[in-house]
Amino acid sequence: LMVMPGLQMESVLGTLPSASGTLMLTVLLTPAAAAAFVALTRRKRLAEAATLLSAFLVVLQVAGLVAGVIAGTRLSAFGDFLSLDALGALVMIPIAGVGFVAALYSINYMGRQYERGVIDRRHIIRYYAGFNVFVLTMMVVPLANNTGLMWVAIEATTLVSVLLIMLYTTEGAIEAAWKYLIVATVGLSLALFGIVLFSYAYSNASPSTADSAMNWTGMAADARMLDPAIVKVAYVFVIVGLGTKAGIAPMHTWLPDAHGEAPSPVSALLSGVLLNCAIYGVLRFNIIASGTLGPSFPSEMLIGLGLLSMGIAAASVYFAKDMKRMLAYSSVEHMGIISLAVGFGGFVGLFAALFHIVNHAIAKPLMFFASGTVSQRYETKTMSEIRGIIKVMPVTGALFLVGGFAIVGMPPFNIFVSEFLALSSGFAGGQFIAASMMILLLVLVFAGFIRKLIPMIFGNPRSNSAQPSYPEGKDDMGRLAILPMAILAVLVVVLGFYMPQPLQTLIHDAVQVVQGAP
């Protein structure tokens, strides 16, 4: 299926050309400048253009940073305060990529919301300013080597995304924003307890200056010397805390509300990218905990939580009535798959987990974009009222179908590949019960999801429509809505067949980071 490259790449640690340090700074300053510009101009067209330009520049700069990482170096700047290794780069790429397509999609989607009078010009300006700040805070997470800074950045993503969710002043949006703010903040305070305990264990094991006591690279290098009793407690705190933010069951309760009520481009960012940032934090501390405690305790926890997430998602997908809430539960499922694959471990398991992070970040935004456009056309999110998308909006319907098949793990799409790898790592590692349960739950989600998707796409447009505003004729809601979906759909298909060499190298190196190689 896939040939691993025989890499003899030696990771060169240490100080690096200041060019990468500058790039790390400018990649953060770009969206900051765009946010400031948007807040100052107060003009809709300029706000859209500035956001799109900023997102494009971020893609270019991230490409530059990733190229440096692939060349075999861990980038580091400001006395190791910021750093980027292969694992961070793997999270950074979806942030930049989905950020760009979401900015592109926003022009059409938010523009229509504006024309329909759902929101006014002030909301548009607030939206684009928030969008840029949101991208900025997410990019700090993989760039922060200081775990305290990483926590501050994750908490900041919560605060900004709460503002984006409550853009619509409906009862549902306010309820969702409130629940998200409270649950995520309490969860993250648990995570900080854990992070501080990690740092305490580290400063006890190797006394150092105050600033570097929170640096991840130091903790990971000295993982074997840390006090196991403290690390065990700290790890549980971090898993529960960051797991809340990553939407891992049973801490996922806020997720369907928040992802369901947010404007669709924001839902795409929340599901496709923000969850990854939290999972990334879990992975970082998993590396340290596995070094101190050995792999069995962390893996058992991740396998248990992963299966629970998949189980709850399977039941909820079956009962879901709202299109976006069903997609949100599917995100809970995929976060479960990722933690299962990490729990299975081994090279193949970790490769599967990291590849799945990328795959989910491509397929889920495609689904949220398509559902956003569909709900604008049909003026509802209730799945039983949406029939015959393929006849009413042929291109969107086809893209929706591709995304839907991909998200449930149908071959030959990208998610099938990583799910297959995860399963085979489970069986290869002797986790027969967990891997068999994973198959069962995958089938259940598949059945629940397809049962709702097929009538929506192929059903008879007139048969079930009690609504007066039922859409007439064929209309795909504009090229600017199609383009971002098409980009993602192409990736969904291509990554199912072929993996580009740079991506393969990057995931390979990231697996080595997770396995604790220098």
């Binding site: 503002l163 409130w178 903040t185 305490y200 006591a213 006090d227």
Partner: protein, 223 residues
């Protein structure tokens, strides 16, 4: 001098607990906010004690920031934003758990915290500061969490969150002796922005729902 210092440590730890019980026994939002304010003043003083005994100048800076942000800015912000909200909504008329029982449960939570810290960190050689402040910080976390789930109004959930955050700050300072000023400023800024955002949300909530009873927030579900 060391005896005075250890007396100071014990006194400020006790003061923090007393101020936290001040939150538990009050019914009105204004009462909660002023109890939070006293707690934050004691927290700033405790941070200064940590600074004095460790000799790091940036802990003093953290103490000053704590005082300014938590004892001055946040209480004022909360009172001002909620001044438009009707008085009836700010009174905890019908909490899920009665005040008397709340005091009892909170006392049990304090005992639990001392037990937990002794158990979990038994292998770690804690210094005097950590021994005094860690159990208190864990109590603050538990009591804040309990306050959030035992009361009905949304305003009180914010105060519960702030108490948790105070516990977190104390935990960090006591265990790592001021990790780094940048991080502590980041945590404080997050707290401040969090309060500002919840204030906006509370105002919207009072306009949209004409109640702040959390029991009424149950529109979003799947059945």
């Amino acid at each position: 001098l060391t005896t005075i210092l250890s007396e100071l440590i014990a006194l400020s730890a006790a003061g923090l607990l007393v101020a936290t019980f001040g939150v538990v026994v009050r019914r009105s939002f204004i009462g909660w906010v002023s109890a939070y304010r006293y707690q934050s003043i004691v927290l700033a003083a405790s941070t200064a004690v940590v600074g004095y005994s460790t000799g790091f100048w940036d802990i003093y800076a953290a103490a000053v920031l704590t005082f300014v942000v938590k004892a001055e800015v946040i209480p004022r912000l909360l009172v001002r934003v909620t001044s438009g909200v009707e008085g009836g909504l700010k009174m905890e008329a019908n909490p899920y758990v009665s005040i008397r029982l709340s005091v009892l449960i909170s006392a049990l939570l304090v005992a639990l915290s001392y037990g937990l810290v002794g158990q979990v960190l038994a292998s770690a050689s804690l210094d005097a500061l950590a021994q005094a402040y860690l159990p208190v910080s864990v109590s603050l976390f538990f009591i804040g969490l309990f306050a959030m789930v035992s009361r009905r109004t949304a305003l009180n959930q914010v105060v519960g969150l702030l108490i948790i955050e105070n516990g977190l700050f104390l935990f960090t300072t006591a265990l790592t002796h001021g990790v780094s000023l940048i991080i502590e400023v980041g945590i404080l800024a997050d707290a401040l922005v969090g309060v500002a955002i919840s204030a906006i949300l509370l105002t919207r909530m009072s306009q949209t729902f004409d109640t702040m009873d959390m029991g009424s927030l149950e529109k979003l579900k799947d059945d």
